[in-house]
């Protein structure tokens, strides 16, 4: 398939906040261009994107994965759904055998140490084995494994001893990944051959300007304090900063297509799952926000500007436009940051890009981002942006390689 990448760039301002903190409670930071910057780690924003998929119901549950150690129990439920004649105990046994056949190691969870809990557990049935690590399986994979288990239900051990059947189990666990696995990857420490390499690369977000963390000293009054000289009921500090962040992610659409494999539903066209995944990713990445201390600071903001490029050559981050920190002398950073990008993007595209095959869209808010209007096709809303991207992706996918 033709290789192509989707680059997503965003400028987003957050007011005093602490989106992503380190072990001392201070907002994460980095150094760039010789000055300290605010930083939000890539893993924090990937988590926010995944949560957004669920919160906004961007994807059908069947397109998402479940991440659990209790794979045996989950698969047993699928088996019983597919074949209600199976008893719970039989379903668990079938599930355990099939999971082992995929190459995943499972073990009985350790007994609780306290005497009370141990006594309680003695009354309960044998503990159900769990995988040693969190296992990320798609609904389609669980469906497939359940069907395989039922096929061999008569004598599951003998059935899975057959090399072909065992290979089928492994293959089911290794194809038709859920959208979130296809995007963000899967790591299974004890069965590395069913790992999935993520199709998306998310950079740490960094501020376009110099940022020093600040500390908020607070006191809280005890309403029931009747002392003649009432002091504070509690004192403390919260670290925070405010920043205009440059955010960047690159999505290998060809890799996403390979990870997703065949259509999610048989009646869909080949490109539908890829298109849906791309649309969900762009919407999720632009709209989501790490929720660290969100009730303390209420930092609910959305990007001031989003630039999306669809290209057949290498992905290009524009972070170097901000290596020299934005000074913001005229108040605010968005205007100067937009001017920087408006100058930098055509320059780097001329030097390294391929204008003939690259499509560019811009979604922007307010007069501060005016300079970005000429960078690409302007879209009026996030919906229009995502529809245009989805269409272009589908067209490119359908074009013969």
């Amino acid at each position: 398939m033709t290789r192509f990448y989707l680059d997503v760039h965003a400028l987003q301002t957050v007011p005093p906040s602490n989106l992503n903190r380190d072990d001392t409670g201070a907002p994460k930071s980095a150094v760039y261009g010789g000055v300290p910057r605010a930083r939000v780690s890539s893993q924090a924003w990937k988590k926010a994107t995944r949560d957004y998929f669920k919160a906004e119901s961007l994807l059908d549950p069947s397109e998402l994965g479940v991440r659990t150690k209790k794979v045996v129990e989950v698969l047993a439920d699928y088996i019983r759904d597919a074949d209600p004649s199976q008893g719970q105990a039989d379903a668990l046994k079938l599930a355990a055998e099939v999971i082992v056949a995929t190459g995943l190691k499972i073990e009985a969870p350790k007994r609780k140490t306290s005497a009370k809990e141990a006594a309680a557990e003695d009354d309960a049935a044998e503990p159900v084995p769990q995988s040693k690590y969190l296992m990320f399986l798609s609904a389609r994979q669980l469906d497939g494994l359940a069907r395989l288990a039922i096929e061999g239900a008569a004598d599951i051990k003998a059935f899975l001893k057959d090399k072909d059947n065992k290979a089928r189990a492994k293959q089911i666990a290794d194809t038709r990944h859920s959208v979130d696995i296809a995007l963000f990857g899967r790591m299974v420490a004890d069965s590395a051959d069913i790992n999935v390499d993520a199709a998306v690369q998310v950079a740490h977000a960094i501020s376009v300007h110099r940022v020093e963390n600040e500390s908020d000293y607070f006191t809280a009054v005890d309403d029931h304090n009747k002392d003649t000289e009432p002091g504070a009921g509690m004192i403390g500090t919260v670290d925070f900063n405010s920043a205009t962040l440059y955010r960047y992610a690159a999505l290998g659409v060809h890799q996403l297509a390979a990870n997703l494999g065949e259509g999610l539903r048989d009646d869909e066209s080949r490109t539908t799952p890829v298109r849906r995944a791309v649309e969900a990713f762009v919407r999720g990445f632009t709209g989501s926000l790490p929720t660290g201390k969100i009730n303390t600071f209420g930092h609910h903001t959305l990007p001031d500007a989003v630039i999306v490029k669809l290209r057949t050559t290498r992905p290009i981050s524009f972070v170097a436009a901000f290596e020299e920190p934005v000074r913001g002398n005229q108040g605010g950073h968005v205007s100067e940051a937009s001017a920087r990008l408006a100058e930098y993007i055509p320059d780097i595209e001329r030097a390294y890009g391929n204008d003939d095959s690259t499509l560019t869209w811009v979604l922007r808010v307010g007069p501060n981002t005016q300079k970005l209007a000429a960078i690409g096709t302007e879209t009026a809303s996030i919906n229009e942006l995502i529809t245009s991207i989805g269409q272009a992706v589908a067209e490119r996918l359908e074009k013969p390689a």
Binding site: T68, A203, H204, Y352
Partner: protein, 239 residues
């Protein structure tokens, strides 16, 4: 011999050679396994294709430290997807604000292919960790009939403008070059970053020689040389 040079620069990079378990450290310069991994990924070599990797591993590798950067520690938490209980905490180390020139010496045809695949990569390049995309396209140049050391001496200083300005008094800067040794060089250290296999089940690395040299590179930001102020000159005249 031909040499392919790369510019490795970005807000964050991380090059682990001996990182284990929850403490993921970084070396102070790019590792051979990291750079070869990037080239292998760009040309679409699958993780378990040890044969194709061996050809890349046979290239001689060197790196020049153009802007050393600073070390940043990142603290990461993870939570169980279902029960919400916390998973082991991990520490990751990054080099912030660093710039390197990496060079690979070997067969021209192979280097030409690698050079081309960096322009249209199958898997996107990253600086040691996926969350660290490069700030510019990484390919610098492909040179013929030049040695690894010569290429690392000829390549102009790639440091950022602000960093060059800090050294404006120096007409040349001394940069450290870490490269594989020749047979007649006996002061080599060893580093375990010679990639043998990137297979997900079992990554394997062998020891590789590393010699440390310095090279003098012109500073394009050097200010004109001001004559040294000597208060005794005046005394000599009056005597």
């Amino acid at each position: 011999m031909s040499v392919l040079t790369l510019r490795l620069a970005g807000p964050l990079q991380s090059w682990g050679a001996s990182a284990r378990f929850t403490r993921r450290t970084t070396e102070s310069a790019p590792t051979k396994s990291g750079v070869i991994g990037m080239l292998a990924a760009a040309s679409g070599i699958e993780r378990d294709d040890d044969e194709a990797l061996a050809k890349l591993g046979a290239l001689r590798f060197g790196v020049r430290i153009d802007q050393p950067g600073t070390r940043v520690r990142d603290f990461q938490t993870a939570h169980h997807g279902v029960t919400g209980t916390s998973m082991p905490l991990s520490e990751r180390f990054y080099l912030a604000d660093a710039v390197f020139v990496a060079a690979l010496e070997g067969d021209r045809a192979l280097l030409t292919t690698l050079h081309a695949s960096l322009r249209a990569p199958v898997f996107p390049p990253f600086l040691g960790r996926r969350s660290c995309p490069p700030a510019h396209p990484v390919d610098l140049g492909l040179y013929d009939d030049v040695s690894l050391h010569q290429a690392l001496t000829d390549e102009p200083w790639q440091a950022a403008p602000w960093y060059r300005r800090q050294h404006h008094r120096d007409a040349t800067v001394s940069l450290v070059v870490l490269r594989e040794s020749h047979e007649d060089e006996h002061d080599a250290d060893f580093q375990r970053d010679q990639p043998l296999s990137f297979a997900a089940e079992h990554r394997r690395h062998a020891l590789r020689t590393v010699v440390s040299r310095t090279v003098d590179i012109p500073n394009p930001a050097a200010a004109p040389w001001h004559p040294r102020h000597d208060p005794f000159e005046a005394l000599e005249e009056s005597a």
